[in-house]
Structures are given as structure tokens and as C-alpha cells.
């Protein structure tokens, strides 16, 4: 029974249904609270939902129970990347590789870190190492595709992304990459198809939401700007959102005060109300944007042509 549940949790996790994976793992942990693997997988899913503190806590439990599992260090590397601690992420990848020299995922995470540091040569070497470990892996093909897309080598990127989609047409990362590639090639309709496909699979995929807003921007500048603004605001962290709204309040209030001091009282009043409009908008606008997005996605139908 537990094996069956664990397989389900792994499947949910792989397909991006992180809440379902978390619920299943909680049920498993209720029966077996000392299972390191359950804690490790739970940590990875919590991280995917942005619950970093809980992810770190669960990983700590997993490592206390069994510190010799390579996968745990990969989760730790992802947590470190999330917290922008690239050095520790790199060390965690090395620890994962010390426990399992053939961990393609560790090489791919290292490649990501190199890409963030703009070290292209090292990044490519890591992807090549990953390819040696797992030549048929979709993740490796996607990594090659992303690398070549970043170099604007569209032909090579296209080849790798098609290979990945040929292996699994529903893979989230491969579809996202195809969407980005098609947008760069100016094939808006195809790009939109893949973006919608990814968002339907995982509504919280920020990269897909960004791609979708870029597509909207290409179609209609004004509507696209609105779309991009909302997608940006929706993805801001709590502290950043607070700072943006407070900065807006300060700017409008001080401006209104200065205009008032200059004797333009009615204009000063309208400026001070602008902030209130912004507050009302942050309350109504974002849910409206989410509703519009949902409506757009409802029209989506899977097309085997793509």
C-alpha cells in the first residue's frame, strides 16, 4: 500500500502536481515518520511551492536520518539556488556527485549555476558530462536546448527541443523551451500553444507566465503591457510588494503635498487619490488578471499537430 502511495507521490511530483504530492507524502509520513526518502521528496515539493523554510526543515530531518543519499544534496542545491547562495549550491552538487558520480541531475544543476555566473564554457561541459551519464535523458536534451537558445543558435536549440518533445510531448520544461524558441522565431501562435500547455500543467510556473506575457506584448502593446505588469506584480516577493506599494504611497503623497504648497489644491487632491486607486487596483486588478488568464486557458485544447 505504502509503495503504491509513494509511486503516486513521485508521479505527482514529476508532473508538477506538488500539492497532491505533499498530501500523499504527509499520509506516508504519518505511518512512517522516520523514512528519510519521504522527508526528502516532501522537501523538494515544498520548495517547488515556494515554502522554503519548511523545505529546509524537512531536508534537515532527511539528512539526520540518512546523510548518504545523493538526492538530498540535489534538493539542498536547489534550496541554495532559490536563496541565491550559489557557492553553497555548488558545494552541494559536489557532495551529491561524491555520493553518486553518475548523477546527471547534479551536473545539470552545476550547469545552471555556471550559466547564472555567465561561464558558458563550463556550463556546456557540465551538460556534456550529464549527457555521458544519461544520454537518453529529456532533461539533458532540454539543457542543451536552453544553452543553445541562450547563444541564439536556433537550429541546434530546435533540434534538441524536438528530441525532448519526441521522448515526452507533455514534458513541462521541453514545452516551455519550445515556447521560448518559437517566440524568438516569431511564431506567436506556436509559442502561445506551448505557454498555455505549461501553465495548464503548472499554474505557478513563473517562467511560463512570463513567456505568456511576452507573447501578449507581441500581439498588442497596450494589453501586453497590462499583462506584463500584472504578471510581474503577481510574482513579486512579500517584502518587494510592500516596498513597491509604500514607495508609490510616498511618491504620490509627497508630490501631492508639493503641488498643494504651490497653490494647486484641486490637482494635489487628484494626485493623492492616485495612490488610493493603486491600492484598489492591487485588490481588484490582480484577481481580475488571474480570472482573465483562467478564461484564456479554458479555451485551450490539445492539438496533436504541435
Amino acid at each position: 500500500m505504502n509503495n503504491y502511495k509513494f509511486e503516486a507521490a513521485q508521479r505527482y511530483s514529476h508532473q508538477g502536481f506538488h500539492n497532491k504530492a505533499i498530501d500523499t507524502l504527509k499520509e506516508l509520513l504519518a505511518d512512517d515518520p522516520n523514512n528519510a526518502i519521504y522527508h526528502g521528496l516532501l522537501s523538494a515539493n515544498l520548495l517547488a511551492k515556494g515554502r522554503v523554510y519548511a523545505a529546509e526543515y524537512e531536508l534537515k530531518i532527511a539528512l539526520n536520518i540518512d546523510p548518504a543519499v545523493s538526492y538530498f544534496y540535489l534538493v539542498m542545491a536547489r534550496i541554495c539556488i532559490f536563496k541565491k547562495n550559489l557557492k553553497q549550491a555548488f558545494d552541494s552538487c559536489n557532495e551529491a556527485l561524491a555520493l553518486n558520480v553518475e548523477s546527471a541531475e547534479a551536473f545539470l544543476i552545476k550547469s545552471n549555476i555556471y550559466q547564472m555566473l555567465d561561464k558558458r564554457k563550463e556550463s556546456l561541459e557540465c551538460i556534456q558530462n550529464a549527457a555521458q551519464c544519461e544520454p537518453e535523458s529529456i532533461d539533458v536534451a532540454v539543457a542543451f536546448g536552453e544553452f543553445y537558445l541562450a547563444q541564439n543558435n536556433f537550429n541546434k536549440a530546435d533540434k534538441f527541443v524536438r528530441d525532448a518533445l519526441h521522448e515526452d510531448a507533455q514534458d513541462e520544461d521541453a514545452n516551455l523551451l519550445m515556447g521560448n524558441l518559437q517566440l524568438k522565431l516569431g511564431n506567436i501562435e506556436e509559442a502561445e500553444y506551448h505557454a498555455k500547455f505549461v501553465i495548464l500543467q503548472n499554474p505557478e510556473n513563473q517562467a511560463a507566465l512570463r513567456l505568456f506575457s511576452n507573447i501578449k506584448l507581441r500581439k498588442n502593446i497596450l494589453f501586453g503591457l497590462w499583462w506584463r505588469f500584472n504578471s510581474k506584480v503577481a510574482s513579486l516577493s512579500n517584502v518587494k510588494s510592500s516596498l513597491v506599494l509604500i514607495s508609490a504611497f510616498l511618491i504620490f503623497s509627497v508630490l501631492s503635498q508639493i503641488i498643494g504648497d504651490l497653490g494647486y489644491d484641486s490637482l494635489a487632491k487628484s494626485v493623492s487619490y492616485t495612490w488610493l486607486i493603486l491600492v484598489i487596483y492591487s485588490w481588484i486588478g490582480i484577481p481580475y488578471y488571474n480570472k482573465t488568464l483562467k478564461k484564456e486557458l479554458e479555451k485551450f485544447s490539445f492539438n496533436p499537430h504541435f
Binding site: 500539492n19 505533499i22 504527509k26 516532501l42 515554502r51 517584502v239 509627497v254 488610493l276
Partner: protein, 137 residues
């Protein structure tokens, strides 16, 4: 039904019905002062107390963080209000400074509220998700 509790999951108190979306408290604290002015500087301390009570009923996993933000925010607010009253009673330089001090006081209040609300919002969204699940079963 699982009974394993993840560390960031809230542990609501029995009076769960009093829990509201923290965004509602924030909006109320912005718009209610336009309609009525609560006594004893109420517009400054009432929303903070309401948010803390909400965090307590919710069993928010970040309640101590919320308390610390409230504490620092309240100290800053008290200091700024004292400064405002000082300049208010001393015309001259005060005439120029008081309108801007009023803006800074408001900004400090809103920043404190925003930080508490956004911190509490994580616990609230997990609470809503778990409640939905409980209602389904």
C-alpha cells in the same frame, strides 16, 4: 486523513470563525479612516492589534515574526508621533515639516501593516487549502 504536520502549517485555535483574510484587515485600515476616525489614535494601533489577534486565531506559524514586526513598527510610530507633536506645537520650522512628517507616519504604518499582512498571508493560504481539503472529506 494524514496527521503529519509540516512546520509552516498553521494550527488554528477553536475560535476559527474569527479568522479573516489579512488583506481585508489591510484594506479596512486604509479606507475606514476616510469614513470615521477611531478614538485614541485608533487608526494607528487598531489594525496592528487586529492583525496580531488574527494571527493568533489562525495559529500562524510566523506569529513571532509578526509580533516582532509589530513591535518595531509600533516603536517607530510612537517616536514619529512624538516628533510630530513636538513640531506641531512649535510653529516656524514645524509648519514646513509637519505635513511631510504626517506622510512619513502614514508610510511607516502602511509598511508595518504590509509586512505583517504579507507574512501572515502565507499561513492564511495554507490554512485555506487545508480547510478546503477538510471540507471535501
Amino acid at each position: 486523513m494524514s496527521n503529519y504536520q509540516i512546520i509552516d502549517e498553521p494550527k488554528p485555535k477553536k475560535i476559527e470563525n474569527f479568522i479573516v483574510d489579512p488583506i481585508i484587515i489591510l484594506l479596512a485600515s486604509i479606507f475606514i479612516p476616510f469614513i470615521l476616525n477611531p478614538p485614541m489614535f485608533g487608526k494607528y494601533w487598531m489594525p496592528i492589534v487586529w492583525l496580531l489577534a488574527n494571527g493568533y486565531f489562525l495559529g500562524s506559524s510566523t506569529i513571532w515574526k509578526e509580533v516582532i514586526i509589530s513591535f518595531i513598527g509600533s516603536i517607530l510610530l510612537v517616536g514619529l508621533i512624538i516628533l510630530f507633536l513636538y513640531f506641531y506645537q512649535n510653529p516656524g520650522l514645524g509648519d514646513f515639516i509637519t505635513p511631510y512628517l504626517r506622510i512619513i507616519i502614514q508610510a511607516t504604518l502602511f509598511l508595518t501593516l504590509y509586512l505583517i499582512v504579507f507574512t501572515q498571508a502565507n499561513s492564511y493560504s495554507i490554512h485555506e487549502y487545508l480547510k478546503e481539503q477538510r471540507d471535501d472529506t
